[in-house]
């Protein structure tokens, strides 16, 4: 049985260089690379545990060194942004004003400390800019936003205010302008 198996391995993977040391015993010892060989051929592992300290692959328990493992554990939460010397940072990010600006509305940051302003593109070439996480008087925000954006445009701004879901949709791609406006307002 052992012989047949070996012949089989020799035939299937000739690049493996399987060297057979003993053909008589039930165990097959194999030297060299065995990565192309399938299961049933590894005979190195002896189960390591505390009761068997003579095992070559045993281990020692070190409670002091666990601090290095602790350091490698990843955080599960998005960390708070560090304090920078000056704002805006080179990436253009700046924190919200604390205390918040005295306005009837407020726009929150999302969990990544950014504004939830997204652009939805349509197949025909149309695009919509969605602003979410709005709190307070959404109609006042809509008015101020239009007042900020309209001087650069040659047409009236088309916006939709969804008050129940606290969302404003602007027709067109205005992500950068809207974020600029919100930063200027101090959110």
């Amino acid at each position: 049985m052992a012989l047949r198996k070996c012949i089989y391995w020799n035939k299937v993977c000739p690049t493996c260089r399987v060297l057979l040391v003993s053909l008589n015993g039930p165990q097959i010892t194999i030297h060299g690379k065995v990565k192309n060989a399938r299961s049933g051929l590894q005979s190195y592992s002896t189960q390591a545990n505390e009761n068997n300290p003579s095992c070559e692959t045993g281990y020692t328990v070190s409670k002091e060194d666990f601090k290095w493992v602790k350091r490698l554990l990843p955080p599960s939460k998005i960390p708070d942004p560090p304090k920078h010397a000056e704002y805006p940072t080179p990436s253009g990010w700046s924190p919200p004003l604390d205390p918040p600006p005295d306005l009837p509305y407020f726009v929150r940051r999302n969990k990544y400390h950014e504004f939830s302003v997204t652009v939805e593109t349509k197949v025909g070439g149309g695009a919509f800019t969605h602003i979410t996480k709005i709190e307070g008087d959404i109609w006042a925000l809509n008015k101020d936003l239009a007042r900020f954006l309209e001087p650069e445009l040659k047409y009236d701004l088309a916006t939709t205010v969804h008050e129940v879901n606290q969302r404003i949709t602007v027709k067109g791609k205005f992500q950068d302008q809207v974020v600029k406006f919100l930063l200027l307002q101090g959110f």
């Binding site: 666990f66 307070g136 109609w139």
Partner: protein
Amino acid sequence: MFQIKLLPRLKVLHSFVRHQHNLTSVKSSLPNNLVLLGKAKDQLNVDHDTTDEVLPPDDNVPVIRKCVGTYSLCKQPAKVWVDSFANTEMVYETAAELNPDIFSTHPRIDVLHDVVKWQKVYREVDYRWARTRAEMGRGRKKPWPQKGTGRVRQGSTVPPFWKKGGIAHGPRGPKSLYYNMSAEQLIKALAIALTIKRVQSDLLIVKDIDVPMPNDVVATQEPLHDNALTLKSSLEEILKARSIDRNSILFVHGTDAPENLNLAVIDKRGWNTMPLVGLNVLSILKHDKLVLHLDILDELEEKLIWNMTRYPWLEMPHNFYKDMPINRDNLEKSLDNM
């Protein structure tokens, strides 16, 4: 062709959270929790009968509990009275602060509806089943000859367009209605449900949730039913003093189950107890009133805020993170021991 019906602006909604204290001028026919703003406030300037109304705690009331976790810059912690079941009458002495991101969020009814629908549907199985034309058990015979009868030619009596024929594209067999709802949506909905309970003054924060055994009654070991009856009557008294004895109530407690409360509730329909881990949207909405133990608020807020700010790819959280809120004390201990 169509006449577009213009919906009125929902002015009542837009400051749902910020102006909840403007309850002074509400027309008596309107519900008490409806907030009127702007023109509506002037037009309906009818004095509301405020004799029975319990005003929210002001700044002078000592706060025995601070809220846990971060919250929006524009919000203030929501203050509520702290009750105790140790007293039969309600005593307005101390207040507790609640995290406004959980207890005064915007009421997104669509999110709430999604989650309630999911909770009702995901455990159901659709057993509807209709026979196709192959399963009718007949139709092998040609109903009439091909020619000579003057009728349309037909080869079988079971096509779907025949009366008593098979059903095409009908419901087929048992089908699981299970689907997954995102954790983000569930957390949002839980915060909304808690907000609604608080705003409608259906939320009760209780310091001692366990029902005290009356002094003149000696607690008996056997039979258990005698204790339950005594405790039930004393709980009824407690709730009657708060005028909520006729409502359905959900009592939410921590890991240490209040034994007397569980006994008192055992025989009463509509009164239910639940540990914090079981708190869910459908149960909150099914009960009229929600009673939360003061000690579970920390855990509740920490877990919810952690879920709101955690990495979204942690679909199955485990303990190999630095800052897990779940059994964090145990984790610290186990890490120190290692």
